[in-house]
Subunit: 151 residues, 4 copies
Amino acid sequence: MPATDTAPGPDLTRRSTFACWTRDSIRYRDLDPNFHVNNGAVNEYFEDGRVRFRAERMSHLSQTLLAGFALVKYSAHYRAQIRFPGDVDIGTVVLKVGNSSYVLGQGIFVDETCVATAEVVTVYIDHATGRSTPLPAEIRAILEASGPPAG
Amino acid sequence: MPATDTAPGPDLTRRSTFACWTRDSIRYRDLDPNFHVNNGAVNEYFEDGRVRFRAERMSHLSQTLLAGFALVKYSAHYRAQIRFPGDVDIGTVVLKVGNSSYVLGQGIFVDETCVATAEVVTVYIDHATGRSTPLPAEIRAILEASGPPAG
Amino acid sequence: MPATDTAPGPDLTRRSTFACWTRDSIRYRDLDPNFHVNNGAVNEYFEDGRVRFRAERMSHLSQTLLAGFALVKYSAHYRAQIRFPGDVDIGTVVLKVGNSSYVLGQGIFVDETCVATAEVVTVYIDHATGRSTPLPAEIRAILEASGPPAG
Amino acid sequence: MPATDTAPGPDLTRRSTFACWTRDSIRYRDLDPNFHVNNGAVNEYFEDGRVRFRAERMSHLSQTLLAGFALVKYSAHYRAQIRFPGDVDIGTVVLKVGNSSYVLGQGIFVDETCVATAEVVTVYIDHATGRSTPLPAEIRAILEASGPPAG
């Protein structure tokens, strides 16, 4: 996991950065009155990327372990308009693993054009206390193995 | 156009009934608290089927002609639960062409299982008067050619 | 419960027909590219009316009893355009109680104008068999007491 | 406008920071499978806050002037779970006015609890070139008058 607080992270606008992929079809309901895809729909695409990441890498873990995650920060950069109809590809990668939290990087692509990127901070919570608690070892191992492809 | 008010319409639970198809990916955001796809998401799938129908058959018509459509009735039958993740195929066909309105039939399929069907009544409106008006000849011709495949 | 299959039901376009009310604010995200409220948003308003109906009249029942409901048919009539911003009032009433199903009537109002009505059929399911089963007596009693106000 | 790149901005978790308010009702459709309000719904509440801000302060400007805005960055901090049913109050305030962009701060409140905050960067675009261009004087004057209430 090369990313640190000071070093620049990997380039989220390039497909080669991402470790896990899913695809969404754009819906008519995603359109704004100006016929562009609404940012809210873009956020749904990012959510599907995260759900796929967890299904692909963590579905064998117990519900008790998985219930600790809480998404606390979401920062999106909308880089280009998305038009209907069509599909988007959503890439997801682990950028950083902290003591009790981790950061995902995401990118949405229409063909080779990156139309949006996001960074998402998830904290691991102990539901008994309602406070953050260190990431369980099994989860930490998975996250540390889910960084950008070497290269 | 064989359908009439008294005769039973074609079977909307069979793929072979439909003349026009599109596909949507199911999103995590489509899920209800009970982990089934919400009926509201099913309605978005049907909408995408209608938008595709119009794009495929009427996109060469002028905006002035197309602006007359108003969807007035929507009847859906939810036949089976839809689960995430996955895709749905949406079929659309013209069931009946009236003087100033027409009826679309729609079906949503997960593989060979029909999970929902709908009938949708669209009226043609004269925006100068706000009242229904006979379907223009160009539109009527397209609708009459968009019934169930023969056979 | 006066409604039968042959008699006309109560007038869903009048506020006085309804036994239970809730209110939703219209969102920018509800708008279609043509700046009208999308039918999908209208369906969400109707859903909130049904959820309120159940919260108001059935929240004391056990989860086991409540888990039997399955919405199977939804018929909406869109009667007038809804504009942003603003609020809508959603009225809900029981139209008919059958052996293993019941029919709700709903109306959406902007001030005194009825902008949409719906009829919704819910079936009671025995999850052990996956088949419809007679409505439990406690639920039947509530439904039969939730028809249109006398008058 | 006190905020600068280095100084800490006003406290977005306090109601007294905000200059413009709107209210949204929470919908059943906003709920995640875990019965919490989905982040996507929270984003819709923020959007309604921004739409209200513009309606309240800029609706007298020409469409040509208004068409220049493009939302490019959106950073949300989800601070507490939101439960159905209920209402949320959304506050919006200008945090900073740059040469060709500005930053809005937003907060969502359930009673006195701040459940989410956001910072949103909007760039002013010249549609002829597709590039950012200095904010028109009329828009700049409105933004500079829309900072946190003195206090």
